[in-house]
């Protein structure tokens, strides 16, 4: 079954669009077509949040409010959802509680970032279950830049108001849920023609067939990377296959040996599951992009785009994950580290797509550590990401898997470091440095705008020593600026 009309809920009615340029962004549709100019463009790359809108979907039996960057979300991606923008919050002229608190607490100055901030807080208002905190609000706002206020009044406003959702949206929730459910027709979406189209297949079989027929199409999941090809590089993309609606790729399986993530599981959904493996993973994922990026970006996309600086790959390589790919009817599996061949080059054939990621849990007696080093703590791409999985036996490191991001053209294992770690006694501090300086044998990093080669090498070595020390018993409270590890341990 194929549908040739895009449909979504907006302002209490169903919007149906049968014709649009496949690469149309949601922001351009809002501002240029619908003429709703409350939503602003600040950067067109998903980093400032001025364009944030809220997309509502039904998941696990409830309505989920997710803030997305409309500048890099494609119009077609909101098929089946409800779209809420800043103009929609006030109820018959009465400000929404979030708006009221923001205005009362002097949360706006120039006002240009404000619509996006209001929408991010609106999502948080609905998603925090009335239990917010300064840290949670900081996380909710990590993708929203404000250049005027210094954020203090914004965070104060959020602290006051995020105490349980009660607004026109909760009051109309049942009807809205029915309307959203009514759009879920399980049909493949295909708008356009064979030359130029936006397609969103609903099943893996449809996806496999469509992509095999159009191996030149651009596959998008969250669009947090491809969106920039469109807005920044002006890449003339004509054929787009959006995989976000493929039900079989959206699952998370928990088996004895590990977790299996469908490729289109969002980073936001994967975060608590991956974070359950180790608190360091949770902390890296907390700092991964922003909430807007994590609700859109997917585990499959973060792997498939082959970025040398994606944070997921080094952690998953250290964990010993593998990736499953599919082309037509053919499915194959390979260790994740073998998927990355060279800068910008992955072991993925034309028309082949990432299907699943298989992530083993930590075996007994293994420890995990990950460190994300950035100029700015939140919403920043890593200069260096270090990930280690170490098996300890009788005070000695029996085995080690160490991977880095930012140190080479691809996420890569540090084999020499691993060799030097194997057999190392945790108390033999005289040999710790030998493992650390092996970084220089494994990597010749580049100097770029994030850091110099010298800095990267020095920090990478220091992080190896820090990991050994922590595994040997050093308290992360004295080894780290922000110790969320001890906090997580204490919570367990």
């Amino acid at each position: 079954m194929t549908r040739s009309v895009l449909q979504f809920q907006r302002r209490g009615r169903t919007v149906r669009i049968g014709e649009f340029l496949p690469r149309t962004t949601l922001l351009d549709w809002l501002r240029l077509q619908e003429r709703s100019t409350g939503t602003k463009e600040g950067c067109a790359e998903g980093d400032c949040g001025a364009c944030a809108v809220v997309v509502v979907r039904e998941r696990d039996g409830r309505l989920v409010y997710e803030p997305v960057n409309s500048c890099i979300t494609l119009l077609g991606q909101i098929d089946g959802a409800e779209l809420i923008t800043v103009e929609d919050l006030a109820d018959d002229g009465v400000l929404h509680p979030v708006q009221e608190a923001m205005a009362r607490d002097h949360g706006s100055q120039c006002g240009f970032c404000t619509p996006g901030i209001v929408m991010s807080l609106f999502a948080h208002y609905h998603e925090c279950n009335g239990a917010t905190s300064r840290d949670k609000i900081n996380d909710a706002l990590a993708g929203n830049l404000c250049r005027c206020t210094g954020y203090r009044p914004i965070v104060d406003a959020a602290l006051e108001v995020c105490r349980g959702a009660d607004d026109q949206f909760t009051r109309n929730a049942a009807a809205r849920r029915r309307a959203i459910a009514a759009l879920d027709d399980k049909a493949d979406l295909f708008v356009g023609d064979e030359r130029a189209f936006f397609a969103a297949p609903a099943s893996e079989q449809s996806l496999a067939q469509l992509y095999a027929r159009h191996p030149d199409a651009t596959v998008i999941a969250g669009g947090t990377d491809v969106g920039l090809w469109i807005t920044k590089k002006l890449t003339p993309i004509e054929k787009i296959i959006h995989v976000g609606r493929v039900a079989e790729l959206a699952g998370i399986e928990n088996t004895a040996e590990g977790f299996a993530f469908g490729a289109v599981v969002s980073l936001a959904r994967a975060a608590p599951v991956l974070g359950s493996i180790d608190p360091d993973i949770a902390e890296v994922l907390r700092r991964f992009g922003s909430i807007q990026v994590r609700v859109a970006g997917t585990v499959g996309g973060n792997i498939a785009n082959g970025s040398p600086i994606g944070d997921l790959a080094p952690m998953l390589i250290a964990l010993g994950a593998s990736v499953e790919l599919r082309h037509g009817e053919k499915i194959r599996r390979l260790p994740l580290e073998n998927f990355f061949l060279d800068y910008g080059k992955q072991d993925r054939g034309r028309g082949e797509f990432v299907r699943r990621l298989l992530v083993p849990k930590l075996p007994p007696a293994t420890r995990f550590r990950a460190y994300k080093i950035t100029k700015r703590f939140d919403e920043d791409i890593s200069a260096v990401l270090a990930a280690l999985r170490v098996t300890v036996d009788g005070g000695r490191i029996a085995d080690a898997r160490v991977a880095f991001g930012g140190m080479a053209g691809i996420p890569k294992r540090a084999k020499t470091v691993e060799d030097r770690l194997r057999g190392l006694s945790l108390t033999d501090t005289g040999r710790w440095n030998a493992a650390a300086i092996a970084v220089a044998e494994d990597f010749t990093p580049l100097s770029d705008l994030r850091a110099s080669a010298a800095y990267r090498s020095r920090v990478a070595g220091n992080l190896i020593i820090k990991a050994i020390a922590e595994i040997a018993g050093a308290d992360p409270g004295v080894t780290r600026l922000s110790d969320r590890r001890t906090v997580a341990d204490a919570a367990e």
Binding site: S108, G111, C113, P115, D139, L145, L234, D378, N433, V459
Partner: protein, 777 residues
């Protein structure tokens, strides 16, 4: 002491109240209109810019045939299409609209393409072919300095035989400091919409802090009389100095496009173009040599401040002068040489940015103070205090006497007490003694900032106030709203003067056809100047109303007062709107143009002496940081601020300015790093690569208070300017980072450059034995 009239004032209804921003409710609903939100006039076309592919060279050929033939393209314009002068510079005639013979920086505009949609224009712009005979570009301050190229002559303040005094001093130190630039990162990028009118006239909507300059430069480039050009702006989505001169070029290009096509034309730069094509805060290379006594008191200072000005002068004369004006900060320098070089580089022309050079000069002297303290093993706060202006030590390097030298010591003492500085310094020393990887630092630094444009003639402003028959007020003045709350403060002043509710005051867009010949909204002067002009206009109308009422009611004028939406006339009272109706019928003119110029100012730049500033605004901040010596990561843990805004017209808005400026300054000195490659290309041209503070960077413990003071000068309601001064409070963060680094090797000066990124911190820390730091003891 506060002047007596401030003490005897009756409570005011609007002024001194923490009222919300006039547009707050609109901001939160997305209902505040920015230029890109204005419904486009029928037939509006869109403009995109083609920029230079290299940073320096001679243009050999420009081939735009593929641009012209691209889909939906209507016209292409270059320097050849300019009817008037190809010059957008504010003063020096050294910066073209479009490059035509030479390329002076990477991405310099060469042509503009006008198309039916913005998307079509952007795509077409990529198809231009610009052939350049490439020359070696000077990118860094050092390269530019070595080449000998300058945008303006060197300039210095010199007093006494400073070199001899330094040589003869009991102690001496020298050092260098590199200070990075800063991108404004206003959330609303540069944008303009030009609508052609009759007789060649043009109306330009421009997101500018300086509508008059846009008007004049559009007229200059279009060969029109100024009076044929109108520039209008209701609000900007942030400015910070980045729209003082930098908005002009885009307004000019929109106007040229409108002329070329006869249709309305809009230009909105995308973020990457905006960052590559518009100027930033000046980077500085600082070298110093100082002589001082055993208490750390400076006897003479030799400061060399070399600025990366970029490819043209722009506002560098004022910016670098202001670095000199603040190279003393709050400290008395008996003998000095404050020498500056305005270095030309093949980078975008640097420009105004909140503080306008002041922050760089101040950072330099604060580093000097820290170095003295490190060398003498004294608490840096004690060295700061030892050097403050005081009785008999009250003349600045530019000849102005600091008449209120008591303010800084009082303010510092109070903050020292409320921030618990001494105890915390002790606790931090104890922490650092036992913590091997994490180190804390603390610093308390003052700010003294001179208020007034240093180009004296700019210190003037106009306002236009109409009172309608129903008693409602149309408010207009030369200031622009960029988020700072100027319009709200001025509306409070207008409502206060007429004694009416704010809902009766209609705030209107800044427009050059209402108030002409205005100065930029800059130098923190918006409220000081425009608030006064509005007060003067309102008082003029009030005087006419009083005179009318006095005659009509036969009551002396001194028994007439305006308050609570009424006019009290002797024992009677009437609604304000009733009086205005009667006054109209009595043929009273209910409109006035107010005009204000700041008194007492004089400045002789050739002599380097005078009184460039009407008064000083003061503040101080105490910051505590925590850093990781193995990664260079740093976190600001607590900040206490005490800031002097005189008598605050609106404490809520003023605190907003203080907090916002502090965080912006913190970004400048920590995470915000502009990186150019050796070809002169800016690599950090979007928020993915250029990192301004986010919510979690704000210290979890952030205490901001207003200093209980007044303004010794007759400023509007005895308030003080607040836009820029608090940015420099963030120097305390930088000094606290240096303090933490210092704890690793006491007695050894810290060579930390700005911004203090993790990499810069690690570099300043130098070699660390990570194993020794981490191994169990």
């Amino acid at each position: 002491m506060p002047p007596s009239d401030a003490l005897s004032e009756a409570p005011l209804r609007h002024v001194y109240q923490p009222l919300p921003h006039d547009s707050g409710a609109k901001h939160v609903q997305g209902a505040a209109e920015y230029i890109d939100d204005i419904p486009e006039p029928n037939g509006t076309l869109h403009v995109a810019i083609g920029g230079a592919p290299v940073a320096r060279g001679v243009i050999r050929r420009i081939d735009l045939s593929d641009v012209q033939s691209a889909p939906d393209v209507v016209a292409v314009i270059t320097a050849a299409h300019i009817p008037g002068k190809n010059d957008i510079s504010p003063a020096n005639a050294d910066e073209p609209v479009f490059a035509y013979e030479r390329i002076d920086f990477h991405s310099q505009p060469v042509f503009a393409v006008i198309a039916k949609t913005r998307d079509a224009a952007r795509r077409a712009a990529l198809r231009g072919k610009i052939e350049v005979v490439v020359e070696t570009a000077n990118v860094s301050v050092e390269q530019g300095r070595a080449s000998g190229e300058r945008v303006l002559p060197d300039y210095a303040f010199i007093h006494g035989d400073y070199a001899k005094t330094i040589a003869a001093a009991p102690h001496r130190c020298t050092g260098t400091l590199h200070i990075g630039g800063q991108e404004h990162f206003y959330l609303e990028g540069q944008v303009a919409l030009a609508v052609p009118g009759e007789d060649g006239a043009v109306l330009v909507y421009s997101s500018t802090q300086h509508p008059s300059e846009v008007q004049h430069v559009v007229a200059r480039v279009m060969a029109l009389p100024d009076s044929f050009v109108t520039c209008r702006v209701r609000r900007m989505g942030g400015g910070f100095g980045g729209k003082e001169t930098q908005a002009t070029q885009w307004a000019v290009i929109a106007a040229l496009a409108a002329r070329a096509t006869g249709r309305p034309c809009k230009i909105r730069l995308d973020r990457d173009a905006d960052m590559a094509m518009t100027g930033k805060r000046h980077d500085f290379a600082v070298a110093y040599s100082v002589g001082y006594d055993a208490n750390g008191r400076i006897r003479a200072a030799d400061l060399d401040l070399d600025a990366r000005c970029g490819c043209s002068a722009d506002l560098s004369i004022g910016v670098v002068d202001r670095a000199m004006f603040h190279a003393d900060n709050a400290y008395y320098l008996p003998d000095y040489c404050i020498h500056t070089e305005r270095v030309k580089t093949n980078t975008v022309s640097n420009t105004a940015f909140r503080g306008f050079g002041g922050p760089q000069g101040m950072l330099a002297i604060e580093r000097v103070i820290d170095t003295i303290a490190w060398n003498l093993k004294l608490d840096p706060l004690d060295v700061r205090k030892a050097n403050l202006y005081g009785p008999g030590r009250d003349v600045t390097p530019y000849g102005q006497t600091v008449e209120d030298h008591d303010v800084a010591p009082r303010l510092i003492e109070e903050l020292e007490r409320t921030s618990n500085y001494r105890l915390r310094r002790k606790q931090i020393a104890e922490f650092n003694a036992r913590s091997r990887i994490l180190k804390k630092g603390i610093a308390l630094t003052p700010v003294k900032f001179g208020i007034s444009f240093t180009l004296t003639h700019l210190n003037q402003a106009g306002a236009l106030v109409h009172v309608y028959q129903d008693g409602s007020v149309h408010l207009n003045h030369g200031g622009t709203e960029m988020g700072q709350g100027l319009f709200q403060k001025v509306a409070q002043i207008a409502a206060e003067e007429f004694g009416i509710g704010l809902e009766r005051v209609h705030i209107t867009a800044t427009s050059t056809d209402k108030v002409p010949n205005t100065s930029a909204t800059a130098a923190s002067s918006g409220t000081d100047l425009n608030g006064m002009a509005v007060q003067i206009a309102a008082r003029e109308i009030k005087a006419r109303l009083s005179k009318f009422a006095s005659g009509a009611w036969n009551v002396p004028e001194d028994l007439i007062s305006f308050r609570d939406d009424r006019v009290f006339i002797g024992n009677e009272s009437v609604a304000f709107g009733e009086l205005t109706k009667k006054a109209y019928e009595g043929r009273i003119h209910l409109s006035a143009a107010g005009y204000y110029k700041t008194p007492k100012l004089h400045w002789d730049r050739d002599k380097g002496k005078g009184r460039p500033f009407y008064y000083y605004a003061y503040g101080a901040a105490c910051s505590e940081v925590l850093l990781d010596i193995l990664t260079g990561e740093m976190s600001v843990r607590r900040v206490d601020i005490l800031h002097d805004v005189g008598r605050s017209i609106n404490p809520a808005l003023d605190i907003g300015q203080i907090e916002g400026a502090f965080v912006q300054g913190m970004g400048w000195l920590t995470t915000e790093e502009l990186v150019y490659d050796d070809k002169g290309r800016l690599l950090t041209h979007a928020p993915s690569t250029y990192k301004i503070p986010v919510a979690s960077d704000v210290p979890p413990d952030f205490r901001v208070a207003l200093f209980d003071g007044s303004n010794r000068e007759e400023s509007i309601y005895r308030s003080k300017a607040v836009g820029e001064p608090p940015l420099m409070l963030a120097i305390s963060v930088f000094a606290a980072v240096a303090d933490a680094i210092y704890s690793l090797n006491p007695g050894r000066p810290v060579a930390l450059d700005a911004p203090a990124t993790p990499e810069a911190i690690l570099k300043a820390i130098g070699p660390v034995d990570a194993v020794a730091a981490l191994a169990p003891r």
